[in-house]
Structures are given as structure tokens and as C-alpha cells.
Amino acid sequence: MNYEVKLGDRVASIDVRADGEGWLVSVDGGPVRRVTGRRQGATGWWLDAGDGLRRAVDVALRGEQAFVLDGVDPLRGEVVDPREHALELAGGGGAGRVTTQMPGAVVRVQVSAGDSVHAGQVLVVVEAMKMENEFKAPFAGVVASVEVAAGQAVESGAVLVVLDPADA
């Protein structure tokens, strides 16, 4: 299986195959390395990728989202199966979706479908834990759809607004 893994600013294409009790792993088309290790408890892994590259890390996955705790560092990103992703793009979704990072309640919606917006323009304000969080346009474009209304409760990962890039 091939996965596109993104953690922090680092992006890699990682190939994983089962190999007895371990795995054969290749990062960005590099040499295949044998990784041994095991799952420990709910989120723990102890992995040995050879050449002294071995230690305990914790991994939580939720959908395509990944949270890796390496020591005290929370590394966040995603693990994508490009085959699924290709299907999704073919379906037309995905490009400019602005999504929440946490559950909350929509306080204000500041744009409507069809509006032109500039990069950084506030689209929607969501309150969570007594704090207002502004969700801004990641790029200039046109609002394709608004998926929420003021007063509505939203789950983590909910799509708030879909944007079409200005230059698309």
C-alpha cells in the first residue's frame, strides 16, 4: 500500500507492505527498510527501522487525520490513501473546503454563495470554549457554497464553506 503522509511541514510518499511480524517500508521511493515493532496499548507503537532509528511513539488516527506524539511533540497531519483521494477529487469535492478543527457553535456567517473573497478574509466565526475563532479564506476566490448557518452546532472536521480559487 502507498500512503501520502503529511506531518507538520513534512510530506512523504510511504510504501508499506506486511513482512512476517514486521513491515517493509520505503520512504519517497528510497531503499526498502525492514521495520519491526508492535502496537502497545491504545495508541502506543514501538518501532525499530534499523540503523538506530527506534523508539516509542504514539499514533492516533481519525479518518485521514493523524496525530503523532513523539516525546512531547504533537505532530499533526494526515495519512491519505491516494486511491481514495483520486476518487474523491473525481467526485468534485475537496478543493477549497474550509473546515473546523474542533466542535463548536457557529456565531456568524460573513459571506454568501457567489461572493468574491480575498485571501485572509473572515468567512465564518465559530465559538468553542468561550473563545471566538475566525475562519478565513486560504486563498482568493469565489464562495461556491456555505454549509452552515449562524447558531448551528458543528462537529470537528465539519465543512463550513467551499471556495473556488480565483484563478481556477
Binding site: 513534512r10 491504545a42 492516533a60 513523539d70
Partner: protein
């Protein structure tokens, strides 16, 4: 006051403080009943209590703050006392009165003492009469410019003009120079009128580079008032305490002694009973201090006082509420070693401390010598969105400050919270700051610039985290596809295992 032994306590709170109070009740041999909102049905305090009652939907205003429902829960479950924790109804004198009227013991100060300390103006008057130093300035609003000039000159510049009806920074003006006073007063009045429909403004001395130092007091119903020394709570982010320690790195013994006596006087002046905290501003000369307010309940950061005095403040509250006299005098109390508290919040330190509630896929608290975690969560549970995003308080003791900090750093590294970012990395950055390490800080220490300079979003140091994420995904895909993964519940279930019986009964 007569003795009134307790048997069953309603804990009118949630999260770590509810858990803390339940523990105290159990140690005193009392049963504890939890209340919970629908959002907290899976909370740790519910699991730990002897009984639990749902008091409404997620919003606090519809559950934890509804006096009638809390009282009904106490009566329905046969409780004879109510402990309010902190926050929620803990400083609500009306609630305290309702508890007493229902024939239950209120584990807190007399309602009159809550009222006396709750009104800023009344408290200032009472405490001045008791020779408690308050920030120099006027108690009543300024009449005119002449009065403003006279008083400002008297207390010395810089001064702060404040809207009497104010809050949230509106109607406040800092004045450094007498020449600017008139313009500032006009502006403050105008802003106050616009914001609060009331242009009353008063003037106070501006205490610059102050530290926030507070004194824990404990009083019984028999007239004894003692203090349990100070806590330095000057490490604040946006006026919220995030780290506390005791002793304060800068308090001289004679200042500590004076501050403790003042706190006891303040408590006595309002007929205080139970545990309470007098907050002070300590000027940058580390000698002058001014009373700010008294918190008439248990304080979030009470554990560090417990660690250096050995006194369990919750058990003390329970005994005092039952009418027992304090079992120690001021002279019996000592401050041994050094204790620190790190408030571990579900907040992302790499994203402006944005709240990060959510599920705790993995969770393991640090342990070992002189490490204590007052938490309200467990592995597989979650930090709900609706309340204060506190995960737990990490409390660490050492023989001295250096030992306490090196131990706390170890404990922070031992602390595994998997699934949501927390403020843990922030504390490690704080501990690395030479000024902090030397105890040189004040309430303005944690500026946005400091945070930006000390918290760089972590990046993978090598390929291992990426490989781990890919392998975890690979194993999940395999498991969902029906292949046997290395370890899952299902495979464990299938493994034959028996531990209960020596042999099976013949069929």
C-alpha cells in the same frame, strides 16, 4: 456552632475539582454524590462517585448553574452537605443560603462573608477599616478634575483611571504625566458612558511590573484564623494563571509574615469560616503589597499549598463545615520545600492557545516521587467542548525550586496525551527561560512576543513519526479489510482464556 457530623456530600461541580473533592470525602469516610450534565455522562467524576445524578443538558446555565436542580439532586440522594468546588455556584451567596434553608450543610464560608467580599466597593471599605492595604486611590467615583488632580498627586504617578461600572478594559486609561490627566479623564468618562451608560470613574495607583501573590487562609467556626503561606501566581497568559509556585521566589520572610497577618485580618473582618484566598499585588520592590480581592472558595491552585504544608485543604473544609475546630495553630504550620503547579489545558500552544477539546485516544499520567496529577479524565474519554478546557493540574514538589522544576520537567515529558494538543510543551519552554529559572518574572512576563519566540511548531526530527503513521494506517486498513491484525479487541476475545475457575462443572 455545634458539631454536625456529615455522612454524604453532594459535589456540585465537574472535572478535576469534583474528582478532588470526591477523594477528600472518601478519605474522611464520607460518601460523595456527583452531578453531571448530559455532556459529562462519561466523565471521571461520575465514575468515581458513590452515586450520580444528571442535572440537565450540556450548557452550564441549564445544568451546573441551576440551583433548584442541584438542590433537588442533593435531597433525592440523601445528602446532608453540599461542596461547591470552584467556579459555577461556589461564590453564589444566594445558593449558599438556599443550601442552608434546605437543611443541608454548606461547605464554604457564611453567605454574609461571600457577599462582603463579592462587592468591590464594600470590600474596600471594610478592609481599609481593618487596616488591610488596598491599592491607593479613591473608593468613590471622582467628583471633578480638581479632586482627580489632588488624589493623583497624592498617590503618585503613574495612575490608572477606571470606570466604576467597568470591566474588560473599557473606560480604563493609564496616565503617566500630570499634564495628561485632564484629557484622560474626559476620554475615560466618555468611554464609560458609552459602554456602561454611567460615566463614574475612579482613580487608582498603577502598580507596575507587579507580581500576583496570594495567601491561603483557613478559619474554623470557633474563631481561629490561620494562613498557610503564599502562592506566586504571576505567570499568566491573558490574565489567566497558568503556572503557580510556593514559596514565591521573591518574598522575604518578613513580607510573607506581614502578608499572612493581613490576610488573616481580612478574613476575620468579614467573619470568614472555611478555606479562602486573599489575592495581593506585590510591587516590583517586593515589599509593598496591596489587597486585590478574596476568593471565598477553594482555589484551583490549592494543591501546591498542600504539598508544602502537608495540610489537606479539602479534608480541612469538610471538618470545619462539620463544626470541628482546626487541629493546628499558626505556629504549627511550616512551609517545607517547594511546589509548582502546571495547568495542563486542552489548548494548542502552537496555534495561539486555541482550545483543542476532543477525544483522549491515549492518556497516561506521570507518576513517581513527589508528582501528583489532579485530573478529571481517563484514556478513551474526552475533554468536552462545553467547559473549561482543563485536562489536569500537574503538581510537583521538591526540596528546593531547582529540584521541583527538574522533576516537573521530567513529569511533563512522562505525560502522554494522545489525540489532542495540550499546553505541556509550553511549560518546558517556560522552564528553559533563564529569567523564569531565576525567578525573575511578573504578571506581564508572558507577552505575545515571548510566546512567539519560544514556541515553534514541532516538525518531525526524522522519518520515524511518518513511518509510524503510515504503519498505523496500514494496520487499520488491514483490520477493516478483515485480515487479522496483531492486536485488537476481537482477536483477544477469540483467544481462549480462563482465569476464574479451576475446572468446569461436569455437563
Amino acid at each position: 456552632m455545634t458539631n454536625r457530623p456529615l455522612t454524604r456530600v453532594l459535589v456540585a461541580n465537574r472535572g478535576e475539582i469534583a474528582v478532588r473533592v470526591i477523594r477528600g470525602c472518601h478519605e474522611e469516610g464520607l460518601q460523595a454524590v456527583a452531578v453531571y450534565s448530559e455532556a459529562d455522562a462519561d466523565a471521571l467524576h461520575v465514575r468515581m462517585a458513590d452515586d450520580a445524578v444528571c442535572v440537565g443538558p450540556a450548557a452550564s446555565a441549564s445544568s451546573y448553574l441551576v440551583v433548584d436542580r442541584i438542590l433537588q439532586a442533593a435531597l433525592d440522594t440523601g445528602c446532608d452537605a453540599v461542596h461547591p468546588g470552584y467556579g459555577f455556584l461556589s461564590e453564589n451567596a444566594g445558593f449558599a443560603r438556599r443550601v442552608a434553608e434546605a437543611g443541608l450543610v454548606w461547605i464554604g464560608p457564611p453567605p454574609a462573608a461571600i457577599d462582603a467580599m463579592g462587592s468591590k466597593t464594600e470590600a474596600r471599605r471594610t478592609l481599609r477599616a481593618a487596616h488591610v492595604p488596598v491599592v491607593p486611590g479613591t473608593v468613590d467615583p471622582l467628583h471633578d478634575m480638581d479632586e482627580a488632580r489632588r488624589i493623583a498627586a497624592d498617590i503618585g504617578f503613574p495612575v490608572m483611571l477606571k470606570a466604576a461600572a467597568g470591566g474588560g478594559g473599557k473606560g480604563m486609561r493609564r496616565v503617566d504625566d500630570p499634564a495628561d490627566l485632564e484629557a484622560a479623564l474626559t476620554a475615560a468618562r466618555s468611554e464609560a458612558r458609552k459602554s456602561f451608560a454611567d460615566d463614574a470613574v475612579y482613580v487608582e495607583k498603577l502598580v507596575e511590573h507587579a507580581r500576583h501573590v496570594e495567601i491561603q487562609v483557613l478559619a474554623d467556626a470557633h474563631g481561629t484564623v490561620v494562613h498557610l503561606f503564599e502562592r506566586d501566581c504571576s505567570i499568566q497568559r491573558r490574565n489567566q494563571k497558568v503556572f503557580e509556585e510556593t514559596p514565591s521566589p521573591v518574598l522575604a520572610p518578613e513580607v510573607r509574615e506581614a502578608m499572612g497577618q493581613v490576610a488573616c485580618r481580612a478574613a476575620a473582618a468579614v467573619g470568614y469560616v472555611g478555606a479562602g484566598t486573599c489575592e495581593f499585588l506585590l510591587a516590583s520592590n517586593h515589599t509593598d503589597f496591596y489587597f486585590l480581592e478574596m476568593n471565598t472558595r477553594l482555589q484551583v491552585e490549592h494543591p501546591i499549598t498542600e504539598m508544602v504544608t502537608g495540610i489537606d485543604l479539602v479534608r480541612a473544609q469538610l471538618r470545619v463545615a462539620a463544626g470541628e475546630p482546626l487541629w493546628f495553630a499558626q505556629g504549627d504550620l511550616t512551609q517545607t520545600g517547594h511546589a509548582v503547579e502546571c495547568r495542563v489545558y486542552a489548548e494548542d500552544p502552537y496555534a495561539g492557545f486555541r482550545p483543542s477539546p476532543g477525544p483522549l485516544d491515549g492518556y497516561r499520567e506521570p507518576q513517581g516521587p513527589f508528582v501528583r496529577v489532579d485530573g478529571g479524565v481517563y484514556e478513551g474519554g474526552e475533554v468536552p467542548i462545553h467547559y473549561d478546557p482543563m485536562v489536569a493540574k500537574l503538581v510537583v514538589w521538591g526540596t528546593d525550586r531547582e529540584e521541583a522544576l527538574s522533576r516537573a520537567a521530567r513529569a511533563l515529558r512522562d505525560y502522554k496525551v494522545v489525540g489532542i494538543p495540550t499546553s505541556i510543551p509550553f511549560f518546558l519552554a517556560l522552564f528553559d527561560d533563564p529569567d523564569f529559572r531565576a525567578g525573575r518574572y511578573h504578571t506581564g512576563f508572558l507577552t505575545p512576543a515571548w510566546l512567539a519566540a519560544h514556541l515553534a511548531t514541532p516538525e518531525p526530527g526524522d522519518d520515524l513519526p511518518l513511518i509510524a503513521a503510515a504503519i498505523a494506517r496500514f494496520e487499520r486498513d488491514r483490520a477493516l479489510a478483515g485480515a487479522a491484525p496483531a492486536t485488537t479487541d476481537a482477536s483477544a476475545w477469540k483467544r481462549a482464556f480462563r482465569w476464574a475457575q479451576h475446572h468446569r462443572r461436569p455437563a
